[in-house]
Amino acid sequence: MAQQPLIHYHVRWRSSGHQPGASHGLVAGIGDQLRSVVMLRDNPDPRRLDLRTSLRDPFENIWVHDFNLNSALKVIVLVDTSASMGYVGKVNRLHVAQEVASQLALSAYRSGDAFGLYAAGETINKQCMLPPKANRGAWLWVNHHFSKIKPQGQHADGLFEAVPYLPQKRCLVFLVSDFRWSAGKLKSLLKKLSHHDVVPVMLQDPAEVDELPKSGIAILRDVETGAGQFVWMRASLREQIADIRAQHVKIVEEASRQYGNKPFLVRGAFSSALLTKYFMERSA
């Protein structure tokens, strides 16, 4: 695993957890956001004395500041492990998914956030479930378990089974897939996850988009259905395929937008800096 910078994800909502962390929370605690001004007896911390309010009070009560807790997030990664995720083009798609998950695991631990992971193909993979916890070795766990995953199955409907395992309170969910799903599947999954902050991480391989062979004949075999397709590559066909892939990205973007999300497109290898940039753009 090449050393990559940590991912600085940033969310605009407040998490309701009681675990101290790096993002703004909802409960009272130690933080940098003023929540309210309370009397000293309710919050007996004289360091937080609000001098101005105390002097103005005709009853000469002592007031102190109360802050919102800087609480920890829960970062959940949902990984599609259907057969198409085993595609090896210019990069190994499952390795890219593993890289995304392990970088997130590492970054989550460094931010003091909880990290959880669920993988599903046609059904949920019960051997590869990590409930969200602050977990120092989560990235090692990810690497260990991903090496055992064999991508199979014609669809990723098992992800729907993973939804009940997710925390009831809002958390940051990364949905890692190539989104080669039948029409409407993504929308219904996003609907089920609508109370979470979902980041669809769309994996694409240059070998299926724009770095196609210029000319020649070959057989393509669908890794999910096993169907064969004789292809005679030529300029016009390349253009058509590039158009279709661009169309596919548009469809995913459109579905995400309806639920207030924006997909993060990974073309080829994963770069954590780009994901940080994505969060910066999103929060701006």
Partner: protein, 340 residues
């Protein structure tokens, strides 16, 4: 048109192998994450079946070529010209006797019968340029002097070297048999003639007659007896008019029976073979004989000639090579790695 035959028809059982390309693709395969939104490409679909059928066709052509198809050439009737003549030359003791009238004058040049017949035969050969000659000489035993070949010089030399030599016995039947033997294992392309040159001083046993008769039938040869005749001897034409137009009276028959030469003539007639006799004791007799032989042999010989079989395997091999060329080209443009 003749029916198609196969030299090795059992190889045609391999023809189902030609369907193998329909099971396997034969083109390099790449996995692809999803083909559900692959653009519909009519040309690619056509090529898919085209490549498979091409491969199947190649296999089929190769198997058919290996089975070696051919058609029988059939036979054509051809007309032969010229004839094959085997001269059976008697060189027994009696042939060294003088020919012609009993001329006892000192000026008269002594000419033996064999010398005379040599001259006659050499002239005969000169007049028949289209024919093939072979020579058998015989007295007590037949000798293959010159084989039946186009080598005319050899036959002439063989004739010139034949000298009469008395050995007390004349093996006429064996000489004739050897002469007929020349025709064995040769295609029947021309009129076959056995030209017996003899003074007739020989007998043929009854069992040998049967053998000779069969041999003549088998080889379809005609017999010409050039009777070299001395004046004192009984003229065979006294009893038989040469050729087909004979008329034999009772009296002549009786006389002929007394004479051995005449008996020999009779014997050949009994052999039931195409037979003619000429007597030669002069230039005129020779001319007559040559004319007769010409008449006999100028009848064109019809014979069946088998044409060689027509082989089609080479065309199938050529087709296979052409198809293989196309397949090799397709293999050239095949994508080896799924990248730009």
């Amino acid at each position: 048109m003749n029916a198609l035959h196969f030299f090795k028809p059992e190889l045609l059982w391999l023809l189902p192998l030609a369907l193998l390309p329909f099971i396997s693709y034969g083109v390099k395969q790449f996995s692809f994450p999803g083909l559900e939104d692959w653009p519909k490409d009519f040309i690619s679909n056509c090529l898919r079946w085209g490549v498979r059928s091409l491969a199947a066709l190649t296999l089929a052509a190769l198997i058919i070529a290996a089975a070696a198809p051919f058609t029988e050439g059939g036979t054509v009737t051809r007309v032969g010209e010229g004839s094959e003549i085997v001269i059976v030359l008697d060189r027994s003791g009696s042939m060294s006797e003088a020919l012609g009238e009993n001329d006892h004058s000192r000026d008269a040049k002594f000419v033996s019968k064999i010398e005379a017949s040599r001259k006659v035969l050499l002239k005969f050969m000169d007049q028949r340029p289209a024919d093939t000659f072979g020579v058998v000489a015989f007295n007590a035993a037949p000798v293959r002097v010159a084989p039946l070949s186009a080598d005319r010089e050899l036959a002439k030399a063989a004739l010139q070297s034949a000298e009469a030599n008395s050995s007390g016995f004349t093996a006429l039947n064996r000489a004739l048999a050897m002469g007929l033997d020349y025709f064995n294992n040769r295609p029947f392309t021309a009129t076959r003639l056995i030209m017996l040159v003899s003074d007739g001083d020989a007998v043929i046993e009854k069992e040998d007659r049967e053998i000779l008769k069969n041999a003549f039938k088998q080889t379809r040869a005609k017999l010409i007896w050039v009777y070299v005749h001395a004046g004192v001897e009984k003229n065979i034409l006294d009893s038989v008019i040469a050729g087909e137009n004979e008329f034999i009276s009772e009296r002549h028959l009786k006389e002929a029976e007394m004479n051995q030469n005449v008996a020999m003539n009779k014997l050949f007639e009994e052999l039931d073979i195409p037979y003619q006799a000429f007597e030669v004791n002069s230039e005129a007799g020779l001319q007559h004989a040559v004319a007769e032989v010409a008449r006999m042999t100028n009848k064109p010989t019809r014979y069946e000639y088998r044409l060689p079989r027509q082989d089609y395997a080479v065309y199938f091999y050529l087709l296979t090579m052409a198809l293989l060329g196309v397949l090799i080209w397709l293999k050239q443009i095949e994508i080896r790695a799924w990248k730009v």
